[in-house]
């Protein structure tokens, strides 16, 4: 089965690759433009968001990390050969695979030097401007793999969803984005890694003029009571490892219950794994946007 799937993947990659063979393409990466010698056929990927977007484009990676963390990537990715962890690539496995391109990003972005002797490495990290960078990566993959048309289709669908979500959010007040870790909380403002929720929705921060860290800021429950947002969007760090419902338990207290968000039942628990682990991946983005749209339209 595994071999068959791999064969199919390689075959489809070759079939699609034929028109673009040997034409050098320049694509935009997180570290600036990179020129690829030809269309890659065998790509090892060390970033979950990258796997997500590549699969959306119909490209099945030839090598993936040992753990994919998110369930929605499907069987093709799960069956691909394993090439180590995000933090520690198994260099022998990667070399044995003989890929013609290696994609790193986010957690694995420090591994570029170690992997460079094996094959060309591109860093496709998605920073804090999540939506814009996700689109840039999508376009770059489309160009690199000769799938421009599909990439344009996906970009159009993403734009349509963004418009729909922004329309649903119109006039809905202020928002606060929270990450819960056991009993502790961090707030993520407009400039942070989850800040794109603010800009995508057009919902202003519940407390304006606050400087925020990319990695979130530790806050107390008093802070939530004081900011009194109309919407609270919760990313449950605990649930990413199967501790379902722990964020709801964390927020179940009189200080949170007194906020406008709690009174109007506008505390939204986002699926944590896609946004936390595959943040900026195409399917991840579409999934989160769908959740936001559903909550706002209620």
């Amino acid at each position: 089965m595994l071999r068959l799937a791999r064969l199919a993947a390689v075959a489809s990659a070759i079939a699609f690759a034929v028109p673009a063979v040997a034409a050098a393409v320049e694509i935009e990466t997180a570290k600036g433009p990179v020129t690829l010698a030809g269309t890659p056929e065998k790509v090892a990927v060390f970033d979950i968001a990258a796997i997500d977007t590549l699969l959306a484009l119909g490209i099945v990676p030839a090598g993936v990390p040992d753990k994919l963390y998110v369930p929605y990537l499907g069987e093709d990715a799960a069956k691909a050969p394993k090439v180590g962890t995000l933090f520690e690539p198994n260099l022998e496995a990667v070399a044995g695979l003989a890929p013609d391109l290696i994609v790193i990003g986010g957690r694995s972005s420090t591994q570029g030097d170690a992997l460079a002797p094996i094959a060309p490495v591109i860093d496709m990290t998605i920073g804090s401007d999540v939506v814009a960078e996700a689109k840039a990566r999508l376009t770059a993959y489309g160009k690199a793999f000769g799938r421009e048309a599909r990439a344009a289709e996906l970009t159009a669908a993403l734009d349509a969803e963004l418009t729909a979500v922004a329309r649903a959010a119109e006039g809905q007040g202020t928002a606060l984005v929270l990450l819960t870790n056991g009993t502790k909380l961090s707030a993520y403002g407009a400039g942070s890694r989850f800040g794109w929720i603010h800009s995508a929705l057009g919902l202003p921060q519940a407390r304006e003029g606050l400087k925020t860290d990319t990695h979130g800021d530790a806050i107390s429950f008093e802070f939530i009571a004081e900011t009194n947002p109309d919407w609270i969007f919760v990313i449950d760090r605990g649930a990413a490892i199967g501790e379902a419902g722990s964020a709801a338990a964390t927020l179940d207290n009189p200080l949170v219950k007194g906020t406008r968000a709690a009174k109007a039942e506008q505390i939204v628990y986002l699926s944590p794994a896609p946004i936390y682990i595959a943040g900026g991946g195409y399917t991840s983005l579409m999934g989160t946007l769908a959740e936001l749209k559903a909550a706002l339209a209620k």
């Binding site: 800021d217 530790a218 806050i219 008093e222 802070f223 004081e226 490892i241 200080l255 007194g258």
Partner: protein
Amino acid sequence: MRLAALLTLALIPLSALSLMLGAASVDVAAIGHDPQAALIFWVSRLPRTLAVLLTGAALAVAGVILQQIVRNRFVEPGTTGTGEGAALGLLAITLLAPGAPIIVKMLVASAAALATTFLFLRLIRRLPPREVLLVPLVGLILAGVLQAAVTFIGWQTDLLQYIGTWLMSGEFSGVIAGRYELLWIAGAAAALAYVYADRFVLLGLGRDAATNLGLDTERVLHLGLAVVSIVTALVVVTVGMIPFVGLVVPNLVSRLMGDNLRQSLPVVAAGGAALVLACDILGRAVRYPYEVPVGTVLGVLGSALFLWLLYRQPAR
């Protein structure tokens, strides 16, 4: 005695400040007629202040007890792997039974902490008795080994940040009514240590001397270890690891008033409470309305104090 009075006096304005300072802008004086102010006071401000006081006092007392047991001044629960042991236990229960109630998680963490403390004792019994600096070194190594295990498992399971936020960075930002009450047990354990204060002093004379003086050394030893483990585990699980309190406070107090624990333990407790409270208030104020973990503040302040102690008071 004068010192005890002084510290108690310092605790009053600190506690008052702690009750007044928070992200919510309410007038605490108005709790009588403003329901929002009353809510903030009873649910957030008072529990947090109590949690800080209990934590500081219990950690400082646990530090003294451990120093008596291993007969070395440069040891604290944080430098013997007890905290890391608790973290390892908590990690294990989080992975094996993610849905377990918090009380079960705390019990597992306490058991792991206890086991770690016993391991530490077994290790240091093999050391030459005159080499006092080896004791904290072995503790640091044990803590490092356990920390490595925690990091390894955390990495494999993508739980590093989860552990880091919950356990390793000691902070009180998550403390509200209903989330800190286990610290009363830590406080009670520290109070129990006071009841047996004299026996810990005897134990500090060494095993043979203590036995000759008619002390049931095994029992006192086990009691002391139980106090240290329970305090460390409950603090780690409730607010996270808080370094240095159990080290600098007992040493400072010992320098000022000697080792008569019957007299000095209350001062140690008050000193620990005052230090942690001052650091927590600082942590609340520095990036207001966001929070800086008290563990971070103490880490900076504590390392400076520790270096000063090492410089002023070389190994006996």
